[in-house]
């Protein structure tokens, strides 16, 4: 018997209850088919309350916009609306969905690079434009009707601090003055504030970006503009595991394991030496931790939360991952089990791209629904059904809690963030799995079709 290196996924109580309810899982598959994405709007509501709780506790004036791009689900979008959040949309399609979900235009913010037609709609509706470039601003200035006040947030980048990661997005600080000038001159625009988004958990990076952004706030005041918002975007982590040890044990073993033992031959998991400690799937700290640490970090020996109040700025955040953390899972039937390339392979009714974002390996073990008996000694690899050697749902050897066989249902936990939609294709005539919202109503789960795809 070789050693086991399981990576058990943390499970929210609602997800755990659903997986344990074999009858509910069976009902979902019978009614909606396999594979199937299940979302839990109740979990999202809990996440929204947790984020808002942190901001309230620190006494910061705030607003939260749900980054809809994280999941195309209409049920989750409706959940964000019910929780009183705003919507962060990245395209005309997402904008339509937000309007359909009942968000008023003044509760919607458009982020990311925008095409001219999208810019025109943003201006016409008067939703907040989070500008990625001077080109966008010029367009926006040209189409915003004189006398209107289309709110503009300038997304900044090019920070001097070495701890702030570089970004391809945003307006370089060197161009900030030109951007302010464009807003000042445009008869239909109003500067709402400045923004950044950092792809890191490091509170020091956000502190430095905030500090540098204040120079733009200052320049705005000098021009007679009245910024009132600092938008720090998202980048809050998900909590994938209960404890760090299994991931550390696995990553450590990976360094010395013979090739092809823990990873399917010809692949690596992108865990280069020294790069795995902070891997997102190894994170066991709460999703609100990054926000909490940022607000508690210090500027001039004073907590950031306090400094933000002193700067008279409302803090906007645009979480996606943190809001849908644990708010979804993916079910698939096991087609069959076979030996291939000298290894134990479980072939699933699913394609890799339908559960894997940007081909980034999902380093967690799925759960066998209604699994019985002792955990098998050996791990297995998981294969998809496309005509590609690379269509492995897991290139990492996974360790299941019981023996899988044909017809069993496998549940991938915590897949609502980007995993369902970011890369899903219809290759080979396999459409992306349908979505269903599962709501725990007393002792029972009820289901609501939620067939929205593609973000």
């Amino acid at each position: 018997m070789s050693q086991r290196f399981p990576l058990p996924a943390a499970r929210h109580p609602i997800a755990a209850r659903f997986i344990a309810d074999a009858a509910a899982v069976r009902e979902a598959i019978e009614r909606f088919g396999s594979p199937l994405h299940v979302v839990f709007p109740q979990v999202m509501a809990e996440n929204a309350a947790a984020l808002a709780g942190v901001l309230r506790r620190h006494g910061v004036p705030y607003d939260i916009f749900y980054a809809h791009k994280v999941n195309a689900s209409a049920a989750l979008l409706a959940g964000a609306s019910a929780a009183g959040l705003g919507a962060d949309v990245a395209s005309a399609t997402e904008l339509d969905r937000a309007l359909a979900a009942g968000f008023a235009p003044n509760r919607i913010e458009a982020t990311g690079p925008k095409a001219p037609a999208f810019i025109e709609r943003v201006a016409a509706l008067g939703i907040t434009a989070n500008a990625d470039d001077l080109w966008e601003l010029d367009r926006l200035a040209a189409v915003a009707p004189a006398g209107s006040a289309v709110p503009v947030v300038l997304r900044l980048s090019g920070f001097a601090s070495p701890v702030v990661p570089h970004s391809r997005f945003g307006i370089d600080l060197a161009d900030a003055d030109a951007a302010l000038e464009t807003v000042r001159r445009a008869p239909g625009l109003e500067l709402r504030g400045v923004a950044f988004h950092l792809d890191t958990a490091d509170p020091a990076a956000r502190v430095d970006a905030l500090t540098e952004s204040m120079a733009v706030v200052s320049a705005a005041y000098r021009k007679g503009l009245r910024p009132s918002v600092i938008d720090i975007g998202g980048g809050f982590r998900q909590r994938f595991v209960e404890e760090p040890e299994p991931f550390q044990r696995f990553a450590q073993e990976l360094v010395t394991a013979p090739p092809g033992d823990l990873v399917w031959p010809g692949h690596d998991l992108g865990l280069r030496h020294g790069g795995a400690a902070a891997h997102k799937y190894g994170n066991h700290r709460p999703a609100i931790d990054v926000l909490e640490r940022f607000l508690a970090a210090e500027i001039e020996r004073r907590p950031v939360a306090e400094v933000l109040r002193e700067c008279m700025l409302t803090l906007w955040i645009e979480p996606g991952k943190a809001l849908v953390d644990h708010a979804g899972l993916t079910l698939t039937e096991v087609l069959y089990r076979k030996r291939a390339a000298g290894r134990d392979l479980v072939v699933l009714d699913l394609s890799r791209n339908q559960i894997t974002p940007a081909d980034q390996e999902v380093l967690l073990d799925p759960v066998l629904v209604d699994g019985r008996g002792d955990p098998p000694a050996e791990g297995v690899f998981l294969a998809g059904r496309l005509c590609l050697e690379s269509d492995l749902v897991s290139r990492r050897k996974v360790f299941l809690d019981s023996e899988p066989s044909s017809g069993d249902v496998l549940a991938f936990v915590n897949t609502a963030a980007y995993q369902m939609d970011l890369s899903a294709s219809s290759a080979g005539g396999h459409p992306p799995p349908p979505k269903v919202a599962a709501v725990l109503d007393g002792e029972r789960f009820t289901f609501l079709a939620d067939d929205t795809h593609g973000s």
Binding site: P162, V163, V164, P165, H166, D199, T200, A201, D202, A204, A205, T211, M214, A215, V217, S218, A219, A220, Y221, R222, G224, R226, G235, R237, P244, Q248, A251, Q252, G270, R272, H273, G274, G275, A276, A277, A278, H279, K280, G282, R285, E298, I299, E300, R301, R302, V307, R309, E310, C311, M312, P357, A358, D359, Q360, Y418, L422
Partner: protein, 427 residues
């Protein structure tokens, strides 16, 4: 003692016996191995010299550039040794987190490449891995670089085995307990290997920072396995110490024992004492590795313990409230040619971003101290105190009013001023 090269001064550091009356652990002999006495100030002097000693001539002759992943003491020592030999050195790090260390490296002319933290969004091509970058550089121009690789180079271990461990045994005899911080793990492991060969019962404890906490120079429990030299099975225990305990213990070393050692040493001393106090008792010889000095971490101490740096708490508010002024009053006074001083008590960052035109900035805690010393405002001027909303500035206005100044609190604060459409000035 006379030396002909500073490099000859590396190693053979003192072993200091701590006064039992001052450390308070019954029956224990606790020794500090003062690696801080090395000429560049830390245990890493040994490592840097061990990594370069046999190669530096060749590196200089071939004009190669030395590369290392380090953000602190190793980079400092390597830079000094490289400079002395006319060799270029480049350091790579995820982040230099302590200001003095960063400034010291600049002063010495080190080329430090700081690389931001790991990407967490789905982007498998994020190129920010220190070891990957060093590897890419070396592959790109073979023969141009020399990677000292402190984390995986066995010379690091050997230096501590042959020197540090031997010296400890020579001066202390058989050791029952060895405690050291886990950074590259070389110092503790190398010395422990030697000591265990002399006394197989030597207990070895590696000290890490508590989960989510930060102590400069050592790793946190979660990052430990990243280090190539780290073998979990080697240690009898891994002790996690939080930064507050590390700081307290290092202050105790300074005030009771006269040893100016940094927070990592504090962490190791705290872990050693806790283990000894919890142990079975009886005579025991313990050695704690003091890896560097206290002074380079002043900003770390200041950040974690501002109370030790004379930052006073707020004084009680006077009984009587000061009169309040509305924005219109300020404008009217100014229009009438009166001299009005607007004192903004917010942080400099907030003040610089936007303030009432003409205001001066005296941050509340500073103003508190200034007012202790005497009222700094003329009786001839009106003085208006402002904060974001008017709640915090009120007590300053009250105190000034109590001394006969014509002092006011701005109603609604800077926020009210801004939201009424009045202009703000930026710096």
């Amino acid at each position: 003692m006379r030396y002909d090269s500073v490099l000859d001064m590396i190693g053979d550091t003192p072993l200091l016996r701590l006064d039992p009356a001052a450390h308070g652990v019954p029956d224990a002999e606790i020794f500090l191995k003062l690696e801080s006495a090395n000429p560049f100030g830390s245990v890493k002097d040994r490592v840097a010299w061990a990594l370069l000693r046999d190669h530096i001539g060749e590196i200089a002759a071939e004009e190669r550039v030395v590369l290392e992943a380090s953000s602190g003491n190793t980079a400092k020592a390597l830079q000094i040794i490289a400079s002395m030999h006319g060799v270029r050195f480049r350091a790579f790090t995820n982040r230099v987190r302590v200001r003095e260390v960063r400034e010291m490296l600049s002063l010495l002319g080190a080329e430090v490449t700081e690389m931001p933290g790991l990407s967490e969004c789905p982007d498998p091509t994020a190129p920010n891995d220190v070891f990957g970058v060093i590897g890419d550089l070396m592959e790109g121009e073979p023969g141009r670089y020399h990677h000292t690789s402190q984390y995986t180079n066995e010379d690091n271990l050997r230096a501590h085995y042959e020197e540090t461990g031997r010296e400890i045994y020579r001066d202390a005899g058989p050791v029952d307990l060895l405690v050291g911080g886990l950074g590259t793990t070389g110092s503790t492991r190398g010395a422990a290997t030697y000591l265990r060969e002399r006394n197989p019962d030597t207990t070895v404890v590696g000290v890490v920072a508590a989960e989510g906490d930060f102590i400069p120079g050592i790793r946190s429990a979660a990052e430990m396995w990243e280090v190539g030299l780290f073998e979990p099975g080697f240690y009898d225990a891994i002790a996690a110490v939080d930064s507050a305990d590390a700081i307290s213990a290092s202050l105790e070393l300074a005030t009771r024992h006269g040893v100016l050692a940094g927070p990592t040493t504090g962490a190791a001393y705290a872990a050693a004492r806790e283990r000894l106090l919890a142990g079975p008792g009886g005579p025991v010889t313990a050695v704690v590795i003091a890896c560097d000095r206290m002074e380079p971490y002043l900003s770390y101490y200041r950040h974690r313990r501002p109370d030790l740096f004379g930052v006073a708490g707020p004084a009680p508010a006077p009984a009587t409230a000061a009169p309040s002024a509305a924005p219109e009053d300020l404008e009217a006074w100014s229009a009438a040619g009166e001299h009005v001083v607007v004192v903004d008590v917010r942080t400099a960052l907030a003040f610089q971003a936007g303030h009432i035109p003409g205001a001066i900035n005296l941050r509340d805690d500073l103003l508190e101290q200034v007012m202790e010393a005497g009222m700094p405002f003329s009786e001839a001027s009106r003085v208006v105190f402002v904060c974001p909303t008017g709640d915090r500035s009120a007590r300053f206005a009250a105190r000034a009013a109590a001394t006969g100044r014509r002092a006011y609190n701005l109603d609604g604060g800077v926020l009210g001023w801004r939201d009424s459409g009045r202009p703000l000035a930026g710096v």
